[in-house]
Symmetry: C2
Subunit: 516 residues, 2 copies
Amino acid sequence: MINKAGRDIPDELLKDGLEVFQGQYYRDGYEYKKAAPKVKGYVQPRGSKVVDSLKDAILKCGLKDGMTVSFHHHFREGDYVASMVMEVIHELGFKDIYICASSLGAAQKSFVPMIEDGTITGISTSGVRAEIGRAISEGKLPRPAMIRTHGGRVRAIETGDIHIDIAFIGAPTSDELGNSRGTGGKSDCGVLSYAVVDARYADKVVVVTDMLVPTPNLPAGIQGIDVDYVVVVDQIGNPKKIASAVLRMTENPRELMIAEYATKCMVATPYFKDGFSFQTGAGGASLAVTRFLRPYMEKQGIQMGFACGGIVEPMVQLLKDGFIRKIVDTQDFDIASVESIGKTPGHVEISTSEYANPLNKGAFVNYLDFVILGALEVDVDYNVNVVQGSDGLIQGAPGGHVDTAAGAKCTIIATPLVRSRIPSIRDRVTSVTTPGESVDIVVTEYGVAVNPARADLIACLADSGVPLKTIEELRDEAYKLVGTPADIKFEDKIVALVEYRDGTIIDVIRKPADLG
Amino acid sequence: MINKAGRDIPDELLKDGLEVFQGQYYRDGYEYKKAAPKVKGYVQPRGSKVVDSLKDAILKCGLKDGMTVSFHHHFREGDYVASMVMEVIHELGFKDIYICASSLGAAQKSFVPMIEDGTITGISTSGVRAEIGRAISEGKLPRPAMIRTHGGRVRAIETGDIHIDIAFIGAPTSDELGNSRGTGGKSDCGVLSYAVVDARYADKVVVVTDMLVPTPNLPAGIQGIDVDYVVVVDQIGNPKKIASAVLRMTENPRELMIAEYATKCMVATPYFKDGFSFQTGAGGASLAVTRFLRPYMEKQGIQMGFACGGIVEPMVQLLKDGFIRKIVDTQDFDIASVESIGKTPGHVEISTSEYANPLNKGAFVNYLDFVILGALEVDVDYNVNVVQGSDGLIQGAPGGHVDTAAGAKCTIIATPLVRSRIPSIRDRVTSVTTPGESVDIVVTEYGVAVNPARADLIACLADSGVPLKTIEELRDEAYKLVGTPADIKFEDKIVALVEYRDGTIIDVIRKPADLG
């Protein structure tokens, strides 16, 4: 069946209530009964929840073949927890484990042999990078991986589309009751936002920490009342890699031009006024926008209402300097933001449900005025791909891309026209991550294209000083520079489903015929 | 059937799975699937959730005859919200409404005519004071009121024993998305802890505020993602009555003696060591204990781990002076604590589930070392009554009494031997609120009785300098002073059930034959 993003979703996938993507707001007003975990209540006071080892915790939780376990990715490339837990599960000989991760990357390369030997047979994740991306692309999983957005993962858990049997939550600090925080330890990650839904909806919850602190460890990102066991290990992650993003104040003229255009677009819209809300990324051009916005805000005497998304130092600085009322933080990309959370007034931790869940009563993304997002590919229908390389290999993550694009009043894709001699703007994206209807403006160094559905924005930008082009003109220029991209050949085997945030299927990813 | 507290619970009550009390830890390890609300998801961004009036909100929420609505009591004697909402519901002509309140008192006297005309037909509450206590005692409700502890209310909601259709949550500040806080407004109550469970488990949630603030109002006690509508009214409460407790540093020699004995008991136990946890009340003797503890802590160079319960200025001062690591706050009794929350480092808001729910994975009450509690009556089996006056009228509240008594390692009841010529220590309490097995020490100005089940404590107190007595000696002394109390006559009609925190029935309250 061809879905609303123009993608062919095989009928055999559409069972158990699975539907194809039918538009970004198709499920608006969807009514459901929330999922809920099974809980064992402890009426009688017991002492510490600390157990001797991960093995102990896993056995006490009653892990069985076929169960689902979960992990968060706040430690990013420095995470030791997911591998450490899975290695014990592997040693214990469990099979057919389903992984429900908020993201996976280079830190989980130990999963690959476990996929090969049947320990891991299913994966739900946002990011699928590095070795694990290749293993999934190669079709090594017996069932297709489910690629979910950050908001979509929370939705899937809260609606019961996926049920977590045991959540393993790495925490920089915990007390013996499981009250856990993202700070105060030797491997700080700032916040624990992705794991909040795991703690509340998993049947069993294990906190893994390398810093046991006196009770009570409050205010807690993860509450002890949701935690069954606490395991103390030597090291939960490599602090150098947890917040590794080396922020660069770009001097690249192409990036500066993209940033300048994006800033001019923002300022020209009616949304740029006191209290506006904003999310941007950590790339060179995105960071430059944060820098370029400041004089405009100063001149107009306005303040940002809230900033969200992955937080980095320039945003924290704007908060400290009084240009932002609140940073609503679900992820910290650098040391400065890890150090700021809970200390700088107005820098506040929120859960990922608050951030981006499409099926609660209104997540923060729904109240975004602007979001600036990247893209691997954009097509002439404004569809964006951020998951699959132009070589067919899965090497990306929808993350909050899809969620913020659907929620923001003005969604700006900022991308160089070509990248490593591959055109970013093209006839058709390799796979759709974010549908074109969610995308308002595409900014390249060559010019700015506005989605024809946004005649209001086209009018706003007429005198903004940015070079307006059609998306086809951008594509033509890209093709002129590096040539028309050749079609990649795929086998029939579907290796991953790209789930839209509301639970429908927006695309499928097949095994590339030649993975190099 | 005679239950474990020696009370006769009529068999006809024991249907729909209702059980009699079978010991304080009877349900330890109880496994259940948590309840969950029905939710309508808002995928499409919508603007403000503010509606024009309470009437609007009630109609949009789809209130129907027979539904359950809920309220919290953070505004205490100054609450306008519950009456305001119920008056609109009354005007709209709805009938057979069940009230699920965290407590009710003088501020809800407008409920009485609504009980009489069938608007309100059922009540679940902790406190049943003033006019509403009398109305319930008189049997004006067609079904018995359900008297619940603070922890028991959360349990009942989280297990699904009671389902809230619409929660009305008064909030000193809210933004237009429903992110609400207990501070920052013109009628501050400090925290919104009792309402957290309402927000998470009710199908529909309405925030009622008199101070709409810019978005986002964070950190939020009640999260906007749980809120359907926001109503702005002129005044949610009388700030003078919200935190009205006039703290008195008692000079009453009887209270000072009780406080001195209680302090000596605490200090003589092995639990009095660095990191100990403590809850006390706001009465004269209790406050004096907080004061008397300080030099002992100073001398031993120890710090309290956490303090909980209703918070008052002397506790905040101990925190500020470095004698307490954390105050885990679910209720503020005075202006000083309202002003401290969120400002004094270590003074932290927690939910009532974190505080006292007996069926989560371990509430803070389970980790209490000491609690000092009051009593209307204590009997020779150490059972305590804090709900029913010795005249039979319901004029009290289990509150956190039962929860902390069950959780704390050392539960101390501090009470004068007689009060207004009524003996506090007696053969048999009028009704049981807290079972004797939860009570360790009874302190009066005449002497201290230790529960014989706690031989360890009796040994500790041998050289503590407090006059040890048997509970029978205390009773005899009380009877000698004011005479043996006459039995009150009751009709057969049961007007209220006293639910134990785990959901079993510990006692029933019948209509007094002569209510005066």
